[in-house]
């Protein structure tokens, strides 16, 4: 048995601190939005530049949305893609809600625009993408997980990527659900990986409980964490909540991304989770954007740097 198979959870606090220091997480304050910061922006980008592998995380493009505070999310999607291209990423992960209403025209427009950026892109389904006809329009255009119903894995840049679907068959009164079939897949998929392999898990709804009254979490995420426990570097990327949040649990770093279309309120801060309509002029682009993820050190740690369109 390898020593790194079973981290000492009795020293969790110390390990968390080491992870924070080692991964170079950057969460600063911009536009009034607090983000934890361990590295300055320039320092983080300098470290990222030294890495041999980086990718971007985009989410919740919601093409078809046309109301306040952003009547034309096509424009902000294009700006987000321009930002993504400037990072020269190896690939892009889209954590779902590509469309607002699952309508074919919205999918076609999104495909046309995103493909135009010429970045290899891997998609996780959002509930807005697969709500009709068992996700037919989504899987036709994004067939990577079509056979399984939205989950798959691949390797790139020394990182093992796992896409999960936690938006299908949502149950009344419950949060997101991964389900037994995907757990079995994940168990088999991870069995062949060494504990030192950096793991990136991406899915739409947060894979930890952000705010249960709004359904912002995943019912069976604890089971997922058990499967990931032996790995030294796990980065979880989610969307759905249209704002950046992060949490560290053991060796697992959870991050959510901004939307490129509209921001949603902090958990419980408003009567409902709908779009923030009453933004002061000039604030919208400070709350929209992408994440850049870089391998910053030789030990497999990843740095996630939030990149708003402005600010």
């Amino acid at each position: 048995m390898r020593n790194d198979e079973h981290p000492d959870h009795g020293r969790r606090h110390a390990l968390e601190c080491m992870l924070w220091a080692g991964s170079g997480l950057l969460w600063t304050v911009a536009g009034g939005i607090p983000r934890s910061s361990l590295l300055g922006s320039a320092e983080a980008h300098a470290q990222s530049a030294q890495g041999s592998f980086s990718f971007v995380h985009i989410s919740d493009t919601h093409l078809g949305f046309n109301m306040a505070p952003n009547p034309d999310p096509v424009v902000t999607l294009r700006e987000s893609l321009d930002r993504a291209k400037s990072f020269n990423p190896a690939l892009m992960l889209h954590t779902g809600d590509i469309t607002h209403l699952s309508r074919p025209g919205e999918f076609d427009r999104a495909t046309q625009i995103i493909n135009g950026a010429r970045i290899e892109t891997h998609y996780a389904p959002g509930e807005h993408d697969v709500v009709e006809d068992d996700g037919k329009d989504f899987y036709q255009r994004f067939p990577q997980g079509a056979r399984t119903g939205g989950f798959y894995s691949f390797d790139q840049g020394g990182v093992h990527f796992v896409c999960l679907n936690n938006v299908t068959n949502l149950q009344a009164g419950k949060m997101g659900m991964i389900g037994a079939e995907q757990m079995r897949f994940l168990e088999q998929d991870l069995a062949a990986r060494t504990a030192s392999t950096p793991i990136v898990v991406f899915a739409h709804i947060p894979l930890w409980v952000v705010h249960e009254p709004w359904g912002w979490g995943t019912e069976d995420s604890a089971q997922l964490l058990r499967l990931l426990a032996r790995f030294g570097s796990v980065t979880v990327l989610n969307g759905h909540i249209h704002q950046t949040m992060q949490k560290i649990e053991g060796h697992v770093a959870f991050h959510t991304g901004m939307s490129t279309a509209f921001p949603q309120p902090a958990p419980g801060s408003r009567p409902s989770a709908g779009p923030i309509r009453d933004l002061p002029p000039g604030e919208l682009r400070k709350l929209l954007g992408i994440n850049r993820v870089s391998r910053v050190q030789n030990d497999g740690a990843l740095a996630v740097v939030s990149s708003p369109l402005e600010g």
């Binding site: 607002h100 209403l101 009709e132 009344a172 359904g215």
Partner: protein
Amino acid sequence: MDRLPRRRQLLRAGLPAMLVAPLAARAQERAAVTIDEHDYFPRELRVAPGTTVVWTNKDDTPHNVVSTDNPRAFRSRIMDTTEVFEFTFAAAGTYSYFCSLHPHMRGRIIVG
């Protein structure tokens, strides 16, 4: 087309009015549920058998109306702002439903 209530499907199909009229007569009673702020108003609605319940989405977020019964008694398509869904409850009973986009949204129609 399955999202359309039966009466409207018949109208779309261009059937003679004489065939449509008896159906319309049976569904005279109508009741409303408003969707707003990620909630159904009222969450619980009592109606007589034969009543057509009309859900109207007044929220700035899309929602739907999905029966929790197995098999499902009804399921709307995704409803954008201002869009409506209607369903006629012929038989007495309690019909629970939720929004499959936002599963914390739950409602109930009690027919009897």
